[in-house]
Amino acid sequence: CHTSGMLTPNGKEYAQKIPREELTHVILKLLQAWKEPLSHFNQYIEHHQELPDDSLSKAKQISNMVRELKTGVEKIWNSTAQRSDTSVVFCSSIFKVCCMCSTGLSISNEANMMSDSDFIHCFRRDSNKVQSYLKILKCRIMPENSC
């Protein structure tokens, strides 16, 4: 997967240890990383039209959802972080690594190389990651009934 290189917390302890901003940033990075590949994918399946219609609509739906999610997380990020520009010097407190992270520009090439099955597989995994991180984030920000 093109996102394999990202440093993401790999377990519950890690995810709970890192500060909220980092977690938000990780989520945001993941979402941003998928923006391009999704659009490419949509174009691809539209042209080829091999998949049945409901799959097409589903794919579009997913793309929209990811976009919206990204927007939402961006808002969270902007509210928590003082920086609004996308290019961030991001230091992971756990991995003690600093990196200059720009928003997924470098990844797009890799994304084009993926096969369909890999694409879906990677997307599934990353969406699961995002979901888990978001849940942890939610329970941290708003520890209410469901947590």
């Binding site: 993401t8 377990g11 519950k12």
Partner: protein, 820 residues
């Protein structure tokens, strides 16, 4: 003598027999020699079987002799070979002679000997079986050998060990039946080569001397031939599961080993890494499993897991199993399931089911989010109904029937890819039936009441069938024609009737009066007839009056028949005598009454509606105003507000000569239908209403003070009697004079709204009378009682004339009580 001997013998026999019979003892049974064996040709033993012992302890002795000799010897050794045996040692054994052996059993009573047995030592030689058989296997170069070893049988006499046995061996696979026998020779070991691997064999050995027979087979020995030694087969990884998304475990199925010890090892590698690790923990999760704890668990990476089985011959590796821990999460079932019964607003109870997530799952931090699902069925039901509840940990169940038992189960699953947990243990629900006593009581009351009502209704229907029918479907009234006199009808003088009516040839009609009656004239004359007068010009009435006057038995002392006559016609009682001016509505009621009265076939006595006030007074009668005690029924009281003079209901006792007007009361028209109690004394009452209105005044002819008009003021079907006052009470007291002068009686008061108290003649009034106040007072029975004697009334109800139907008048005389 002989006889004596015989008898003595017999006696002895008998004694013996009785002894036997008494004690049950006898001489012993015959023993039997079972066998004789020689182990090594130098010694031999014989065994016998005892016979019946005859109830006493037996001694066994063995005697033998050699066939070439005559001497009998006894057994040298009873012990060595065991009980019931005899052992001949070397010194006593001669292989070349034949022994003749006998066993004798002796007891107190007698003895018994076995048959002799001829024993040839050489022919009975049989060694014991070999002993100490041991087996070994040896597998080399894919061939399996069986190595068997044994020892010769042991002898009683250890000295002679130099016998040479020949051996035989047999073996078979354990499951098979057929033996494979191998002759071994004289050695005490043997090697078997043609064996199948993996089979368990059973081996036995026996021996023989050069003479005699083979020994018995030795006891069995078995041995397993190990299989061909192969490397193990491939193990298989069954599943990997994570119960809480933090650790996971993998299980495999071991390879079938060929009898050799097989060891399994698990290796894994992570996606993107080359390094291969071994399972960190083989024990925590049980046999054939590997447990990965938190440190070794990484998410969103694919593990490549393999298991290797190793044994002496080699090893084998399972197929790789790729697993991403995120997708293999299967939580434990939910715990802490509680039920709570709550009552909703509408008082129908519902159930609230609550549970908690499994303890290991970390729901609080949001790491693992669970979704729940319920499964419900009635206890006797077949199918489960599944209810998806989502992430909430409670569920309100409204659709349960009270009184029924249900079974409910819950399970959960991670909200993302994952597996459903096991179902929680069954939970039984039973909602208590909300038996509200109130409801039941209400229903019971309703039921009882309705049944009562039905009963009453049916009873009423039965009893008053007629009346009901009449009420519902009133019979068509016959035509009532004015001026018809029932007497005439009775008399059969139809001509007169018709002429009275003024229409000839008119068929006589029924007597029900449909004419309106204005007033009643109470005559003070002999005939004392109440003559109703009509509004409608009816000159005929006069005529009729006269005629009727002549006809009727005037109110004389001796006209007892009047009453009965009048009584005869019991139909249409009320209206007959009383013509009341009815209002519009009243007419119907009259009719009704008429009809009702018509329906009645009452004896005269029972007419309630007949009310009479009869003034009686034949001179020769004492205390004329004797009235029957039944008078009370016959009272008419008038509410006489207009009466200014103190009315008094008095009989003229003094003046006997005078005829007192007999106020004839008016029949009450049929009372309300309800009053059907004819059995009672006639309670005919007449509602007498004082005509207070001025418009009624015309009726109140001052002259005719004594007129009593029956006037119907109200619609209530009560005929009212208007009092006509007569100034001059020109009452002639003629008893027998059938004068035309009419006598009128003043009505004094109306008591109790329905009793008309008539005034006696004022002139002759000197007796005080109580004047009841206007009406309201209840009927003063006392007063009336007092007045009864002085009041006028008809005597017998029977006399009272009820119906007078259709007639224009009443003959007061008819009311005359039978003073006589």
């Amino acid at each position: 003598m002989k006889q004596r001997f015989i008898s003595s013998v017999q006696i002895m026999l008998q004694l013996a027999l009785t002894t036997v019979g008494l004690t049950g003892q006898s001489y012993p049974g015959k023993p039997q020699i079972v066998r004789c064996r020689s182990q090594e040709k130098e010694t031999f033993s014989c065994w016998w079987k005892p016979g019946s012992d005859g109830g006493l302890p037996n001694n066994y002795t063995l005697f033998y002799r050699k066939d070439s000799e005559e001497k009998i010897y006894e057994c040298p050794d009873y012990l060595t070979s065991g009980p019931n045996s005899c052992y001949f040692d070397k010194n006593h054994t001669n292989p070349w002679t034949t022994y003749i052996i006998t066993v004798t059993a002796t007891n107190e009573i007698g003895s018994n000997s076995s048959d002799p047995q001829h024993v040839d030592v050489t022919s009975i030689v049989q060694p014991d079986a070999p002993v100490n058989l041991s087996l070994e296997t040896n597998t080399s170069a894919n061939l399996s050998y069986l190595w068997a070893k044994w020892s010769p049988p042991s002898l009683a006499d250890a000295s002679s060990n130099s016998h040479v046995y020949r051996y035989e061996l047999r073996l078979k696979p354990e499951e098979k039946e057929e033996w494979e026998t191998v002759s071994v020779g004289m050695q005490t070991h043997y090697e078997v080569s043609s064996l199948k691997a993996g089979v368990k064999y059973v081996v036995q050995v026996r021996c023989m001397l050069d003479l005699g027979e083979w020994s018995e087979w030795s006891s069995e020995r078995s041995i397993q031939i190990s299989k061909e030694q192969l490397p193990p087969e491939k193990p298989v990884i069954i599943k990997c599961r994570s119960p809480e998304k933090e650790t996971f475990t993998c299980w495999w199925k071991p390879a079938s080993d060929g009898g050799l010890l097989t060891k399994h090892t698990l290796f894994y590698s992570k996606e993107g890494e080359e390094k291969v690790y071994e399972c960190p923990d083989y024990k925590t999760a049980g046999p054939n499993s590997c447990y990965f704890d938190k440190k070794h668990t990484s998410f969103w990476t694919i593990y490549n897991i393999t298991v290797r089985a190793t044994n002496e011959m080699g090893s084998n590796v399972s197929d790789p199993h790729y697993v991403d821990v995120t997708y293999i999460v299967q939580p434990d079932p939910p715990v802490n399931i509680t039920l709570e019964l709550k009552k909703s607003i509408k008082r129908k109870p519902y159930l609230v089911l609550t549970w908690s997530p499994p303890p290991l799952a970390d729901v609080r931090s949001g790491w693992l989010t669970l979704e729940y699902e319920l499964q419900l069925k009635p206890e006797e039901g077949e199918e489960w109904e599944t209810i998806f509840v989502g992430q909430q940990t409670h569920c309100k169940m409204f659709s349960l029937n009270p009184g029924k038992r249900y079974i409910v189960q819950i399970h959960c699953k991670p909200d993302h890819h994952g597996l459903w947990s096991e179902w929680s243990p069954e939970m039984y629900i039973e909602i208590p039936t909300d038996f509200r006593v109130k409801d039941m009581v209400v229903w019971i009351i309703v039921g009882v009441l309705s049944s009562l009502i039905c009963l009453i209704m049916s009873w009423i229907m039965i009893m008053k069938g007629y009346r009901m029918m009449a009420f519902i479907l009133p019979p068509v009234p016959g035509p009532k024609i004015k001026g018809i006199d029932t007497h005439l009808l009775e008399a059969g003088k139809s001509e007169e009737l018709l002429s009275a009516l003024g229409c000839h040839g008119f068929p006589p009609t029924s007597d029900c009066e449909e004419l309106l009656i204005e007033y009643l004239e109470v005559e003070d004359s002999e005939d004392q007839q109440l003559m109703p007068r009509h509004d409608t010009p009816s000159k005929n009435t006069k005529i009729m009056l006269k005629e009727t006057d002549s006809d009727s038995g005037r109110g004389s002392c001796d006209s007892p028949s009047f009453l009965p006559v009048k009584c005869r016609e019991s139909r249409s009682l009320p209206s007959v005598d009383v013509r009341a001016k009815e209002k519009k509505g009243g007419k119907a009621s009259w009719d009704t009454r008429c009809t009702a009265s018509e329906q009645k076939t009452l004896p005269c006595e029972s007419i309630k509606t007949c009310t009479w006030l009869a003034a009686q007074l034949p001179s020769n009668q004492a205390a004329m105003f004797a009235y029957h005690s039944t008078v009370e029924a016959f009272k008419i009281t008038l509410n006489t507000t207009n009466v200014n003079n103190s009315p008094v209901l008095v009989g003229n006792e003094e003046n006997r000569q005078s005829l007192y007007p007999i106020a004839e009361t008016v029949y009450d028209v049929v009372e309300k239908v309800r009053e059907m109690e004819y059995a009672k004394t006639d309670q005919t009452t007449v509602q007498v209403r004082q005509n207070e209105h001025s418009n009624k005044s015309p009726f109140l002819n001052p002259k005719l003070m004594d007129y009593v008009e029956v006037h119907k003021v109200r619609q209530d079907e009560k005929p009212t009697v208007l009092l006509k006052h007569k100034e001059n009470s020109g009452k002639t007291k003629k008893c027998t004079v059938p004068g035309t002068s009419k006598e009128y009686t003043k009505v004094s008061t109306v008591v109790d709204h329905h009793i008309l108290v008539l005034l006696p003649d004022q002139r002759s009034q000197n007796t005080p009378e109580s004047q009841e106040p206007v009406a309201e007072t209840s009927r003063n029975p006392q007063q009336s009682q007092a007045e009864k004697n002085t009041s006028y009334s008809t005597t017998t109800p029977s006399d009272s004339r009820r119906d007078a139907s259709g007639s224009d008048y009443m003959d007061p005389s008819s009311f005359m009580p039978s003073f006589k």
